[in-house]
């Protein structure tokens, strides 16, 4: 290790020592026999690719799923003897970044991460823990029993409990609290926290580098520092386009569903109404992916729609429904149709039909009846339906993935790539959070514009 260096230390790789790994993969001849050879591993040798990355990005070496941002601590590779029973597995992300080293001795710098070996104490409960817990429980039990009557009467003094009974109230409290905390608050808080962190390797979590940062949010706005453009146009455009397209999907859904919901709620009764409901519901037994692919078949260049249209001579070259986003809009509109219809139906159904007749009797034309009587009455249902369709469209992934055109990208797809192929969860969290906040803000603005309160929506 005391060999002379020519070009200074070369940061080679991060090294992971994990017990029980296979032998060193060694495809290339080692620069020096002492040091385990850096071996390109096919699995992780690609830099994280995100379609949205700015053009000015220089590929960074990505070693292990995390992009290392930690200062490289000078370390010498342990001599083979010290490796002992532990196998070393070294992977190098960008082998081409390695300087071609002339034969001779070099000083190599390795960053070494050592995974904590698991001890037995971590792995589940041992005999003594259980024994102590049992003894403790048995000691407390008599006291608990003595106090139970008092507790019981105390609990019963609470109005809520008295009204619902102990079992039901316990269920209600535990279930609703559990729902709110574990299903809603905690995951979002966790994601929020995540979005303000660096993408660290596991060993660095909790270390000196584990600090909060705004870089993930900055990235959405400005891209990587040193990019040619000031703003991260690509992602911002996709973001705005996603919001706009979701609004369009919502508007189309509303336009389609309102007449139908009105008809079902006010005009048709009995058997025909049930038939209509069945016709609406049954298609949704087919799962979303299947439906999306069915649309793909219909809208394909050689699909039914083009065949028919060319057949009857409406146009003569196949129309590219995907490029024109027709397929995407159709798929999304269809996917969330029911979420629009049912709130609308519920709202309109509760309108006293006499009010419609009264308006008509007073001389009102049909459009004014809707504008002055039906729409104001159905407003909470409309907002509720529109909110759901808008939120879910903006957050849709399957339909844009399958039916989206070659040039169109949905914001969720970028988020998905950050999480999945990009391996950058903090970045993905930041993007997801921006989408969530934007959607909520948008919906709240719309509610303000249309003068609807949250409570009114909850009535439906």
């Amino acid at each position: 290790m005391n060999n002379k260096t020519e070009d200074g230390p070369v940061e080679l790789a991060q090294m992971k020592i994990s017990p029980g790994m296979g032998s060193i993969s060694d495809d290339k001849p080692a620069p020096k026999p002492d040091v385990p050879a850096p071996a390109p591993s096919t699995g992780s040798s690609m830099p994280a690719i995100t379609p949205g990355m700015g053009s000015g990005n220089t590929p960074q070496p990505a070693i292990t799923p995390k992009i290392g941002g930690a200062p490289a601590a000078p370390a010498t590779a342990p001599p083979p003897a010290s490796v002992g029973g532990t196998n070393l597995n070294i992977t190098i992300a960008n082998p081409d970044k390695l300087p071609s080293l002339p034969p001779g001795s070099h000083e190599l710098k390795l960053v070494i991460e050592q995974e904590k070996p698991k001890t037995d104490a971590d792995s589940g409960l041992g005999f003594w823990e259980i024994f102590i817990a049992l003894v403790a429980a048995l000691t407390i039990a008599p006291f608990a029993q003595a106090q139970a009557g008092k507790w019981f009467s105390n609990i019963n003094a609470i109005d809520f409990v008295r009204r619902n009974g102990i079992v039901i109230s316990l269920y209600l409290i535990v279930f609703s609290a559990g729902w709110i905390i574990f299903m809603i608050v905690l995951p979002q808080l966790y994601m929020l926290d995540f979005s303000f962190r660096f993408n660290l390797s596991p060993s660095e979590v909790g270390g000196a580098n584990d600090v909060y940062t705004l870089k993930n949010y900055r990235y959405l706005l400005f891209g990587r520092p040193g990019d040619e453009d000031l703003l991260n146009w690509l992602h911002l455009q996709v973001f705005v386009k996603t919001i706009f397209a979701s609004v369009m999907v919502t508007v189309i859904d509303f336009a389609l569903c309102y007449p139908l919901a009105y008809y079902m709620a006010q005009s048709v009764k009995g058997g025909n109404q049930r038939l209509l409901f069945l016709c609406l519901l049954l298609p949704f037994w087919v799962n979303e992916i299947l439906r999306a692919f069915a649309f793909k078949l219909i809208f394909a260049e050689q699909g039914i729609l083009n065949d028919v249209m060319i057949g009857i001579g409406l146009w003569d070259t196949p129309f590219d429904f995907f490029r024109a986003n027709v397929a995407l809009y159709t798929g999304l509109t269809y996917a969330y149709l029911l979420l629009m219809i049912f709130p609308l139906y519920n709202a309109i159904e509760s309108l006293d039909h006499n009010q419609v007749e009264a308006a008509r009797d007073l001389g009102s034309p049909w459009w004014r009846i809707h504008y002055r009587v039906v729409l104001p009455h159905a407003k909470p249902g409309i907002v509720s339906g529109c909110t759901m369709v808008f939120m879910l469209s903006a957050g849709a992934l399957a339909a844009p993935n399958i039916l989206g055109g070659p040039s169109s990208l949905w914001f969720t797809q970028i988020i998905y790539q950050w999480y999945n192929t990009g391996g950058n969860w903090p970045q993905g969290s930041a993007y997801a959070f921006v989408l969530l906040i934007a959607c909520i803000v948008f919906v709240r603005i719309m509610m303000r514009v249309f003068k609807v309160s949250l409570g009114e929506i909850a009535q439906r």
Partner: protein, 362 residues
């Protein structure tokens, strides 16, 4: 200047005949009521006049104009719904002025008209309230004002008082009648409450099973019913079933379970016809030992009820239904014990012999 003509109007829903060959003329400015039990077709007639239903046969004419094909929004009628159907999301003034808004009248003018109508219904200055802030009777009047705002030739009222409590209902009867006199337009009033029909109306049409049974002034309907249904539906009445044994000089003798009883015969009953003789409770009197009176019969007393101005006495009837006497309280109501055998009589002029027919369900 004629009012509304229903010319052989028949309305069918599938096989069900809701209104069967209805012929009547309602004069301009008349307060006309349709009276009948629920399901008798009176609301159907109203909806045919307002235009929500087209008659299956026959025609509805308003001011000699055939209304076929003219929608409810183009007829000179205004309908007041049973549940009023005020618009809950609009203010009182907006409700009243809705018909004017539809007609494109400017806001200021609408406001002025609404205020006028609010004065008419004795709710001045309440235009900015929401409908939910009003009491039942006030809403009632707002509904009337909303209908009057469009200056209809005919106001149609579909049991508008049925949701109110008794006191308010009685008050609103007088109020409605007063409003009708003030505005002077035709009111067509639908009700199953004979009290409402008799007190308010110029004329009443009694309906049953889609058929108009009788059209007459209230007193005439009460005193001289045309059919067994009308006799039993309007007011209390004691039916005595039997065959006509003699018919002469406008009187008919019916052989009943209580012997031959005589009553007026205005419907041309002949000897041998099945008939029902109707005697009102207030026309039946205790004989008090007199034997020289006509239509004298006796029965067992079942129970007696004292009601204040009247005392009711129930006697065993020909069926399970008891005979009912209303004895006017002149300070000297005779005491009758249950089980006692009592003799009663009535004047033949106060009894009506009618052809056998269905009675109204109690």
């Amino acid at each position: 200047m004629s009012g509304i003509d229903l010319d052989h109007v028949t309305i069918r829903f599938g096989d069900f005949v809701a209104v069967d060959d209805c012929n009547l003329t309602i004069e301009k400015g008349e307060f006309f009521s349709f009276l009948g039990p629920s399901g008798c077709g009176k609301t159907t007639i109203l909806r045919a006049v307002s235009g929500f239903i087209e008659p299956s046969e026959g025609s509805v004419r308003i001011d000699d104009r055939d209304m076929r094909g003219i929608g409810p929004n183009q007829r000179p009628t205004a309908l007041i719904f049973q549940n009023l159907a005020l618009f809950p999301l609009m203010t009182v003034a907006d409700n009243i002025a809705f018909g004017l808004e539809v007609r494109g009248i400017k806001y200021q003018e609408r406001r002025r008209r609404a205020e006028e109508l609010l004065n008419l219904i004795a709710l001045p200055g309440q235009g900015d309230k929401m409908v939910s802030e009003l009491s039942g009777g006030q809403r009632q009047r707002v509904a009337i004002a909303r209908a009057l705002a469009v200056e209809p030739e005919v106001l149609l009222l579909d049991e508008p008082l049925s949701a109110l409590d008794l006191k308010l209902r009685q008050h609103m009867r007088t109020e409605l009648r007063a409003i009708q006199r003030r505005v002077g337009i035709t009111f067509i009033y639908i009700t199953h409450d004979q009290g409402e029909a008799l007190t308010m109306s110029d004329r009443v049409a009694v309906m049953s099973d889609g058929i108009v049974q009788q059209i007459d002034a209230g007193a005439e309907i009460y005193n001289n019913p045309a059919t067994a249904f009308v006799a039993s539906f309007v007011g209390e009445n004691n039916p005595f079933h039997g065959k006509v044994t003699r018919a002469e000089d406008g009187y008919a003798v019916v052989s009943t379970a209580f012997g031959p009883l005589r009553g007026t015969n205005n419907r041309g009953l002949n000897e041998g016809d099945d008939a029902i003789l109707f005697v009102r409770p207030e026309s039946l009197h205790l004989a008090n030992g007199r034997e020289d009176v006509e239509n004298l019969f006796e029965s067992d007393a079942l129970k007696a009820e004292f009601e204040g101005s009247f005392a009711h006495l129930f006697l065993r009837g020909e069926t399970e239904k008891s005979i009912r006497l209303a004895i006017s309280n002149d300070g000297n109501v005779p005491k009758v014990d249950p089980g006692e055998r009592v003799k009663v009589h009535f004047s033949a002029d106060r009894a009506v012999a009618l052809p056998f027919g269905d009675l109204a369900d109690e």
